[in-house]
């Protein structure tokens, strides 16, 4: 008898376990997917308190990771923040639904310039809401690195800094460095140009301390390496922690990126998503968020309220002449993507 009971109990437990896996269908939630360290967690709490909407928040590392997570389809995200070229890809695949700007009145706080920039991937500004933007450059330690040389990508191939260089562990960002050094477009699909960039990156590998994404700035702050290829916002954040650091965008040009929010086709709580977007544009919230993330914000209300010194800080708010020298990443077709991936793997496995 006891054994029979045990048996029933075991089966019952298993069923409980499986039912736990099912989708939670409570109506008043919002499922958000965003880069790591890319929102002030406090504002999520404030949003929950103000609206009673429960926020389920998830993070990812690279846009490619996001794409996999999204495409796997296990969770119907309501709101996703990602970068230009990935949004373009998703728009092409009909995965993005149009925003209803009537529900986001505070969009007027955002500067028109950045909507113009977004037109490179969202030509009619129908789908996306700019969140933060910036460039890619070199974060370096002034005490170790020769400042007269750091204005060129060449320094990342300088043998004097062997074992002191951190490269980006992301296909497009690393290729961008080599492509710009060679004077190519960062959206090139030309076989010869790609091979040339790859060759350069393989040459560089013995000098590289490590390939990192989010941890790059931490390593520079801890002075484990002398320079790293990082996003401007990360650099701005790192500068706060260590006076010896500085940031520059090399003269050959770089990548200008815009991260935007979009509502995917499969979203179940579109209204909540729009409420959240409106909330993010609100001055006090955008201010809190800016202070936490420390990336260039397109929100004019926030920028105008900042200390003029900060407004002119070229690390956080890249000046126009630098932005004009930069290119926005475009989405590549499948064949080119496969090429980039294969060449990247070959770099990673090179001796």
């Amino acid at each position: 008898m006891k054994k029979k009971l045990l048996c029933v109990l075991a089966i019952l437990m298993l069923f409980c376990f499986f039912s736990g896996c099912g989708q939670k269908n409570s109506s008043n939630t919002l499922i958000v997917l965003n880069y790591g360290k890319y929102i002030d967690p406090e504002i999520l709490e404030i949003f929950e308190e103000e609206t009673g909407i429960k926020v389920e928040y998830e993070e990812y590392i690279t846009p490619e990771n996001m794409y996999t997570k999204y495409k796997a389809g296990a969770i119907d995200y309501d709101l996703i923040c990602t970068s230009d070229y990935m949004i373009e890809k998703l728009i092409q695949e009909n995965e993005v639904s149009e925003l209803n700007y009537e529900n986001i009145p505070l969009v007027e706080n955002l500067e028109q310039t950045y909507f113009d920039f977004s037109k490179s991937f969202d030509p009619e500004n129908k789908y996306t809401l700019p969140y933060f933007f910036g460039t890619v450059g070199i974060l370096y330690n002034k005490e170790i690195v020769d400042e007269s040389k750091v204005n060129s990508w060449d320094i990342l191939w300088d043998e004097d800094y062997s074992g002191q260089i951190i490269m980006a562990d992301s296909v497009r960002d690393s290729f961008m460095v080599a492509q710009k050094r060679l004077g190519f477009s960062l959206n090139t699909t030309d076989e010869a140009e790609l091979r040339a960039a790859q060759k350069l990156l393989i040459q560089q590998k013995p000098l590289v301390y490590s390939y990192l994404v989010d941890e790059a700035q931490d390593e520079i702050v801890a002075e484990n390496a002398a320079m790293a290829v990082v996003y401007s916002g990360e650099a701005g954040y790192a500068l706060e922690f260590n006076d010896k650091l500085a940031f520059t965008v090399p003269k050959e040009g770089s990548n200008m990126w815009i991260d935007c929010w979009f509502i995917p086709q499969r979203a179940k709580h579109t209204e909540n998503a729009e409420k959240f977007l409106n909330f993010l544009c609100r001055k006090d919230i955008a201010m809190m968020n800016f202070e936490y993330v420390y990336y260039a914000t397109p929100n004019t209300q926030v920028k105008d309220a900042l200390d003029p010194k900060l407004q002119e800080n070229p690390t956080i708010f890249p000046p126009t002449e630098i932005l004009e020298n930069c290119e926005v990443l475009k989405s590549l077709d499948d064949e080119a993507t496969m090429k980039y991936n294969l060449y990247w793997k070959e770099i990673k496995s090179a001796d």
């Binding site: 054994k3 029979k4 045990l6 048996c7 075991a10 089966i11 437990m13 298993l14 499986f18 690279t62 490619e64 990771n65 794409y67 996999t68 495409k71 074992g163 562990d169 296909v171 590998k205 590289v208 301390y209 490590s210 390939y211 990192l212 390593e219 801890a222 002075e223 484990n224 390496a225 993507t337 496969m338 991936n341 294969l342 793997k345 070959e346 990673k348 496995s349």
Partner: protein, 273 residues
């Protein structure tokens, strides 16, 4: 209890196995032999012959082998020493070996990264002592080091288990018949602990061969193992077919190494684990 009832008791486990072992394997097989559009192909599996994949596989095999050998060389004498201690202290020492496993292994790897980094604790300690800094982070050495650190208990415990089961009578009998310590070691201890050694080898070699987290965190993105290639195929490239194809090849390697080990172990009595 009737046979049916006994089978019913195994039900939860069978369900578990079907859902979390057999089904995923079937899915891997399906993806491995299809293209993105769903038609049949061998290309994903044969892509292991791409030089970049072969290189990663060779490196994985090399590091896993190295790790297994180091673990074995460290564990065997240790198990012998342990076996000769008082029973009370044996329990305590075994407890110490298991202690690190109470903490998540990811955290321990991250801790090693902190310890080994250029300005890390170990190097600043060496610096104050006037010794040269060690520069192994982001190299295969660091990866092997951490694999050994992580998997060592899996080698020690089965060997130690096998050793405790050797009856002292046998050794005394051997001594009576005039065998020296070396003869006893090679004729009695080694053959009787072979089953433990084999379980240990499997339990170290297989996870070492398939690992990707350690090489990611301690290799600084510069050590590309086959596990990293597969992870990249799934996570970065959204190419599940390629990832599954390569996983399938890796599975063959794992099964082959286990079969090889088990065929050696069969005649040595029951395995420990």
């Amino acid at each position: 209890m009737s046979k049916l009832k006994r089978q019913l008791l195994a039900g939860p486990y069978i369900l578990w196995m079907a859902g979390f072992i057999l089904l995923p394997i079937a899915m891997v097989l399906y993806y491995a032999f299809t293209t993105t559009s769903g038609s049949f192909t061998f290309l994903n599996v044969t892509s292991i012959t791409f030089s970049v994949h072969l290189k990663a596989l060779a490196l994985s095999l090399k590091l896993a082998l190295l790790c297994t050998i180091i673990c074995l060389v460290l564990s065997y004498p240790l198990a012998m020493i342990l076996n000769h201690m008082k029973t009370k202290s044996q329990g305590f020492i075994v407890f110490i070996f298991i202690l690190p496993m109470w903490m998540n292994f990811m955290l321990r790897i991250l801790a090693w990264r902190m310890l080994l980094s250029n300005n890390g604790i170990i190097n600043s300690l060496l610096g104050t002592l006037g010794l040269p800094a060690i520069d192994i982070l982001n190299t295969p050495t660091a990866v092997v080091f951490c694999m050994v650190y992580d998997f060592l208990p899996f080698m020690i415990l089965p060997i130690y288990n096998a050793m405790t089961r050797i009856q002292t009578d046998i050794i005394e009998a051997a001594k009576d018949l005039g065998a020296g310590n070396i003869t006893i070691f090679f004729k009695i201890t080694v053959p009787l602990t072979m089953s433990g050694v084999i379980s240990g080898i499997i339990m170290v070699f297989v996870p070492a061969l398939t690992s990707f987290a350690i090489s990611d965190l301690l290799g600084g993105g510069k050590v590309l193992l086959i596990g990293n290639v597969i992870e990249q195929a799934f996570m970065q490239e959204y190419n599940w077919n390629l990832g599954s194809g390569l996983s399938f090849v890796l599975m063959i390697f794992v099964i082959a190494s286990m079969a090889l080990m088990n065929s050696r172990g069969d005649d040595q009595g029951a395995g420990v684990l």
